[in-house]
């Protein structure tokens, strides 16, 4: 038996009464699921090719299509799921590494879902964000310990404040490279970030010239492949981020399959067309913390100490001492990406099994930096699967200065988490470079939707802050008193540094 047949993960259901044979689904599916047969005037759908992106379902003018999930069915087995069985079958066929996209989908404990927030009553009035000022302004960068004021006729600031990023909301768009996503997707996020007053991140894709109008709000990434890194690149952005790792695939570098490297991507990344862009696992000039310090200062020298330079790491077991080392090496911000962080392509086994949840990571890093008395030297940015404004508020209460959203931002642009980004056939025009597909994402609409997401979450954060009797986000940062755990054991409560629900002050 040489090659197995794969059971479909989705079943396409068509209500034939409603189908008007407009053939929109036939034309639009990049996986050729639907076919129109003029002889019989029927549309047949080949479910085994369906990836569950829901594009046809959304477009169908009569709502005739429903995409349903279908588990590959094997005999009931507590230990083996259908997915695991078919993964082995695929590997027996191909001898290759199984790839996937987006973030870890395994049922590890959802700590955000086990924390609840406070509200003020009676002894402390809650504050109404619709009628009173509610401040979300956030600064990313090292903060001085003391502010010295020159005493003269008019008090004057004598302390030099290190370079800061000024954000109107504690939410930024995470690093998603041009290459892993389309230029239209990059434009959408870049424009929304600039309009709202927050930042976006170039990822390892370099900075395409069409994105230059938005570069003043771009955090440019220097990753292990150093794609697109040159002097203009470093000067264009508002901050520099050295990417050591990411939550989706700690320990290995970025991965862009050759199918997604056409001419424009090749030019921006400075690599040959059609080649797989596999970033090396470590930076080959950073084998220890001293090397990182040298790179940080090399970048600061190159940009005349005018912008914050930070480091992005994946959340792993030793994230606290690593973060401490990074701060002592001179970083102005530390980005911690948890196990739920997304990606365009990663080996499934690494995405699902390597890394730790971001909630625990934020808590231990914040505590370690405070214990060492260096918490003010760098901002902590948390990333990795933030699903709602409540997750953001909880992350800040645990100690983060700001958060990066990646998956949520793409969902705002149309993504339905089918996890097939690595194929380059994204029907929504997001994770693809195919011009037939990339046109489907109109950056005007994309920017509008991404802006709406930022606006909606910011308003919700204000509501939650007001409820807690707080009117400035800096009073929530690290304020673990505002959190309580539900259904967490002692070790978890201790690590998170929070009490259990029911316990008062």
């Amino acid at each position: 038996m040489a090659k197995a047949k794969y059971r479909p993960e989705f079943i396409v259901q068509r209500d034939d009464e409603k189908c008007i044979r407009c053939q929109v689904c036939v034309r639009m599916c990049s996986n050729d699921v639907h076919t129109y047969y003029p002889e019989t005037d029927t549309v047949i759908s080949e479910s085994s090719r369906c990836v569950g992106c829901h594009f046809c379902e959304d477009l169908c003018p009569t709502g005739a299509i429903t995409i349903c999930r279908s588990e590959p069915q094997i005999k009931e087995n507590y230990h083996w799921s259908g997915t695991e069985v078919y993964n082995i079958i695929k590997q027996a066929d191909s001898g290759g590494v199984l790839l996937t996209g987006m973030g870890c989908d395994r049922p590890y404990k959802d700590y955000f879902g086990h924390m609840v927030l406070n509200a003020s009553q009676v002894t402390n009035p809650s504050i109404d964000p619709l009628r009173e000022p509610m401040e979300l302004k956030t600064f990313i960068g090292g903060k001085p310990e003391v502010v010295v004021i020159k005493k003269s006729s008019e008090p004057e600031l004598a302390t030099q404040i290190p370079p800061q990023l000024e954000l109107e909301t504690p939410i930024m768009f995470s690093a998603m490279s041009y290459g892993s996503i389309s230029l239209n997707a990059c434009k959408s996020l870049a424009k929304a970030a600039c309009d709202f007053g927050t930042c976006w991140n170039t990822g390892e894709g370099g900075l395409h010239r069409d994105l230059l109008p938005y570069a003043h709000r771009a955090i440019v990434q220097v990753a292990s492949g150093r794609f697109g890194v040159n002097k203009e690149y470093l000067d264009a952005g508002c901050a520099i981020e050295i990417k050591i790792g990411q939550g989706a695939k700690p320990g290995i570098g970025g991965h862009l399959p050759g199918e997604k490297v056409p001419e424009e991507v090749s030019r921006t990344r400075m690599i040959p067309e059609g080649t797989d862009a596999l970033s090396p696992a470590p930076h080959h000039d950073i084998y220890s913390i001293e090397d990182l310090k040298q790179l940080i200062f090399a970048l600061k020298e190159a940009t005349r100490y005018e912008k914050p330079v930070g480091v992005k790491i994946a959340a792993v077991h030793n994230v606290a001492p690593i973060a401490s080392g990074i701060v002592r090496a001179g970083a102005d911000f530390v980005v911690i990406d948890g196990i739920r962080g997304g990606t365009g392509a990663a080996p499934t086994v690494i995405r699902n099994n390597v890394g730790i949840p971001i909630e625990l990571a934020i808590a231990v890093v914040d505590r370690r930096l405070r214990e060492e008395g260096i918490r003010n030297r760098a901002s902590i940015i948390a990333a990795g699967g933030f699903r709602s404004s409540a997750d953001v508020v909880k992350a800040i209460a645990l100690g983060a200065d700001a958060v990066y959203i990646g998956t949520a931002a793409l969902i705002a642009l149309g993504c339905h988490l089918c996890q097939k980004c690595y194929t380059g056939k994204c029907n929504w025009g997001i994770a693809t470079q195919d011009p037939y597909l990339t046109k489907r994402l109109n950056p005007e609409i994309g920017a509008r939707r991404a802006y709406n997401l930022l606006r909606a979450w910011s308003l919700e954060i204000k509501e939650m802050l007001g409820g807690m009797g707080i009117n400035a986000i800096e009073s929530l940062r690290g304020n673990r008193e505002q959190l309580r755990g539900v259904g967490l054991n002692e070790v978890e409560l201790e690590l998170l540094g929070i009490k259990h629900a029911g316990e008062a002050w």
Binding site: D58, P61, N442
Partner: protein, 159 residues
């Protein structure tokens, strides 16, 4: 002469779904209901918007309501006329005798023969009977937009 509102085409956003044609037909049907228009009604109305594609470039084209419309010159009965109030080039089906000179004259090829109840010509009327052009309203990617006489975009709802 009053300049009409115009539909502007942005082919960089057209994804080739052809939903514009579907909604044009529906808007000009008797029932205004998609399923009935496609399955119940005979004859199905002719779409006023036409889809064209080559390679990865595609767009949908409709009557440009030209400032110097050749179809107005070509029409022998006066069925094709300019509405002074809106500046649009409109077509009176009652007066049309189906000579199809307008079809031959139109440089964009956006007038089509209609073999429905009678043999007449058919073209885009900017959905004069509805609030807003159906194709613009329903294009999923805003590849076609409506602009006023100054060229300012008109949205159906505040955006």
């Amino acid at each position: 002469m009053r300049k009409p509102k115009r539909i502007i085409i942005r082919e960089e956003y057209c994804m080739g779904c052809r939903l514009c044609e579907v909604y044009c037909i529906t808007q000009h049907s008797k029932s205004k209901d998609i399923i009935k228009a496609y399955r119940g009604e005979e004859p199905r109305p002719v779409s006023g918007i036409y889809f064209e594609e080559k390679g990865s470039v595609s767009f949908a084209l409709q009557c440009r309501h030209c400032d110097d419309a050749p179809c107005l010159e070509a029409c022998i009965t006066g069925a094709m006329y300019r509405d002074e109030g809106t500046g649009m080039v409109l077509h009176d089906r009652e007066k049309c005798v189906g000579c199809w000179m307008c079809i031959m004259a139109c440089p964009y090829g956006v007038i089509k023969p209609d073999f429905g109840e009678r043999k007449v010509a058919s073209k885009c009327d900017l959905c004069i009977e509805a609030e807003f052009p159906a194709c613009v309203e329903h294009c999923p990617n805003e590849a076609i937009i409506l602009v006023d006489e100054e060229g300012e975009r008109i949205y159906k709802e505040a955006v």
